[in-house]
Symmetry: C2
């Protein structure tokens, strides 16, 4: 087992990474009082709920099983969790355990952030995406019909159990979507990791637990370094959004249904790399390396056909549009991203036209 | 104008207290970007919305007028505010201005805490209760059918404009309810203020702006001293809940309709003082002084008739019930409150029986 400590002063917490982690001795020290609510979805409940309940046998537990899917990441679903907490008289010393992917983690974290103005929160992410994306950063939230994650809060977990065993049941497509976020860390800040990924992709796709644990640890370590510098996302943290402004536009246009988040980010990173090449920051060879790595992870490179004007409109509602001016994460080089609102707009125009098939 | 600075490190903010405060020069330095959403209710909108809009003429403003009343302090009402923010494309540099009483302030603060994971927030409290209770502490939230303020967050305002002019339109009953919270500060920690209140009550009831400003400033100063020691309410801050556990039981039983919050707190403080006398902490003369001051403010002394078992049940859901054990704020002496779960239960039984009319 690897242990990575996310250093946030008195809110520091450990991420445990490895196999056979669903053990009482790991989780118990991080639980506040006696009351524990497990929040999960119907897919994951069938696979792991019993095991997690057994692990928490020493506590007063209850569980809420939500319908699976991003479209249920709403204030209405969060309300169901508040209802259970209050019906069961959970007090402010309660602990919420999120067992599932990013939707369960974000929603449960938001409820934990806002139930009685904040209770303890533990994550057991069961997707690769959630293990690398939700384990670090403290972002919680739900979607609004007019935008993703528009309602939320910052709330740090007390610990994260990233168990590679839970990835054995992960659908192939979701594994690949998770690899998109892993690749992101290589692209934005870690050229050495990028090179490792280029050679390790077959082992990762074969779900070798050691390779996966290494990828999760390195991704979380990279993310923690960025978040540690910038906990509230005023500056550097926006680097983590490489591919996300383009990606969110894809997800919004397609109604969060047909594209997985990681798939949209993959196509979005490709678009950001393309635009960086248009700006003269990446070489043609750099862009080819990005394409090859995404292709090796069997991720989509092309967004759906969206007219440039519509694409800009979809990007404008994104949170990174600051005071009306669009800001993008672009690549100065492979392994070095920048956040900027000061770019040549014709480069964006060429990239949007290229991907719209014009 | 008096200015009281609430000292919270990099989240410190000023409370401006006085008359003629609805001026652009006071508020403008505390606004983040260009977009300002004014949230108010239909009663206050008719009186002050136009003036506040004029004050904010230099910004891109919008307003939401909510129905007046505690029963609208819900997640559904908060949703209406999120809808407007997103429909108007308010970005994360937006500022929310709460113009109204505690309901508007708590709800608007909660939306500000959670819109895009936190935006700027300014309070213009138009009731005495909100001026002394919501100006300091950063508590925001909405009610749930099973309990008050069960969904919420801590979120500090950027500034507070406590304008005594807005109290001229306050209904008599609400003025008195606000005085209950003012009296609370005297009782829990400030014997000198308690004595001042005993002589100044006629001026306060006559709405003398200088007396009111003095009462607001002293109350906010006392509250800030407690909150500064204990921002997240682990310990001392619970002192501020004198009368509130009893009071919340009254409000829950009566459906938040017939009793104003301050009225319930007044009766609750009387009950807490009575129980403190039962414990031998207050003398008969002390209890008489509490009664006389509440009576001078024309506040209710008696709760509605509620059987002791039912009263205990209503108190148990209160947030101060920690790990199942009821904790109460009681008076060691006039001007000195304590929070304790370690009290003689028969004293509580005698107090509940006394007020149930047994």
């Amino acid at each position: 087992m690897r242990t990575l400590t996310v250093d946030l002063g008195d809110r520091s917490y450990p991420i445990y990474i490895g196999t056979e982690l669903l053990r009482a001795d790991l989780i118990a020290p991080h639980i506040a009082g006696r009351q524990v609510l497990i929040v999960t979805n119907d897919t994951i409940a069938a696979l792991y709920l019993e095991r997690v309940q057994a692990m928490l046998a020493g506590f007063e537990t209850a569980s809420v099983v939500l319908p699976d899917g991003e479209r249920h990441k709403t204030l209405e679903t969060a309300s169901r969790v508040y209802d259970v907490l209050l019906e069961r008289r959970f007090d402010r010393q309660s602990t919420l355990v999120a067992l599932g992917g990013g939707v369960v983690g974000d929603l449960t974290g938001f409820v934990a952030a806002t139930y009685q103005r904040g209770v303890h929160f533990i994550q057991i992410p069961t997707t690769l995406l959630a293990q690398v994306d939700s384990s670090v950063g403290g972002k919680t939230g739900v979607n609004h019909p007019l935008g993703k994650n528009m309602i939320g809060a910052f709330h740090q977990p007390r610990c994260v159990l990233a168990d590679m065993d839970t990835l054995t049941t992960l659908p192939e497509r979701e594994l690949k979507a998770g690899l998109a976020e892993v690749i992101k860390y290589g692209l934005i800040m870690d050229p050495e990791f990028l090179a490792w990924l280029e050679t390790s992709m077959p082992a990762l796709l074969a779900r070798d637990p050691e390779a996966l644990a290494q990828a999760v640890e390195r991704s979380c370590r990279d993310k923690a370094a960025v978040v540690g510098r910038d906990e509230r996302e005023a500056g550097d943290r926006a680097l983590l959004n490489l591919g996300h402004t383009f990606g969110h536009a894809i997800e919004t246009e397609t109604g969060y249904q047909s594209w997985l988040h990681g798939e949209a980010v993959a196509a979005g990173m490709h678009m950001a790399a393309h635009m960086s090449r248009e700006l003269g920051w990446l070489t043609e060879a750099d862009l080819a390396r990005v394409r090859a790595l995404l292709a090796a992870a069997e991720l989509p490179l092309q967004p759906p056909a969206i007219a440039p004007d519509r694409f800009r409109e979809l990007m404008a509602v994104d949170k990174k549009a600051l005071g009306g001016r669009l800001r993008l994460v672009l690549l100065r080089a492979l392994g070095e991203a920048v956040v900027t609102g000061d770019f040549d707009d014709t480069a964006l125009a060429r990239t949007l036209a290229h991907f719209a098939g014009a």
